[in-house]
Symmetry: C2
Subunit: 168 residues, 2 copies
């Protein structure tokens, strides 16, 4: 046996997005307990030209959505980036998880050699399916989930690594 | 075709560690250009009880080393955590990449169902090989590489996402 493209994508992204939702719960609870405006956390950044927490969550969702849609060759739903509260960010995650759950393994399996073309910084970058998933989509996805964690931790929210890992 | 356990581990970890080494180069260059003591960056943290840059690099290396060693069922080399400079951290990465490169695919392939037992927080946690790689080793590895990136960015080092992604 080996790892299928489905096994390495949809359920893994969904699992981490569930964990990301838990991280947001803890951020929200922290804001409530300290009587901090939730916007302070939602708009927090690690550096002025880095994205804020809200955008990290949106991009993590889009990385997951885009990866499975591209591998399966289906249209990806458009999710507007208007989220302004923890509840809205959690709803964004929930609809992304629903989208991931709508895929059957056979829609994604066999896409290892599929041509994937991305527009990055105005130019076209070509990948093969497995290279795209393992070398681009996964590292990007984990980058944004981790940076969301780091932003919350940096602001004092008590998170532990097990919140990020969840139930593997 | 499908993804082999080897394809999803050793070469992917090695590729990202090479990128991590480039991030450290940029950190070192920044310290030199600004006449900042490199220790300021090496000991920088995003929060008092988070690990500093040096430890993020060490753990990323150990995540990669431990994953391939456990999946292959070989003894993992002991790497002491004494690094105190960018050069030493880069050497730690280089010897980890050498260890990863020492594996032949057939040593790791077929480990999808292999029992992997970790001691986490004093208790034994049991995984199957694929679950361990996709649900634990990979997310942890990317967590520490990303947090190293975030620490450097938070301190003003000019990094771009393409430095983190490298050549997928």
């Amino acid at each position: 046996m080996t790892i299928s493209m489905y096994q390495a994508s949809a359920p893994r992204f969904a699992n981490m997005l569930k964990n990301l939702s838990t991280l947001l719960d803890k951020g929200q609870a922290y804001a409530e307990a300290r009587k901090v405006d939730p916007q302070v956390l939602i708009s927090a950044r690690l550096y002025p030209d880095m994205f804020p927490l809200s955008r990290q969550v949106q991009i993590a969702c889009d990385n997951a959505k885009g990866a499975v849609a591209r591998l399966a060759g289906v249209e990806m739903p458009k999710h507007e980036d208007g989220e302004q509260s923890f509840a809205e960010l959690k709803a964004r995650i929930a609809k992304t998880i629903d989208f991931l759950a709508s895929f059957r393994p056979e829609q994604i399996d066999g896409s290892e050699e599929k041509d994937i073309v991305l527009k990055l910084g105005g130019r076209e970058v070509k990948f093969k399916g497995m290279q795209y998933l393992l070398g681009y989509a996964q590292p990007n996805f984990y980058f944004h989930v981790t940076t969301a964690y780091d932003i919350l931790r940096h602001n004092g929210v008590e998170l532990a690594k097990r919140d990020y890992i969840g139930n593997p």
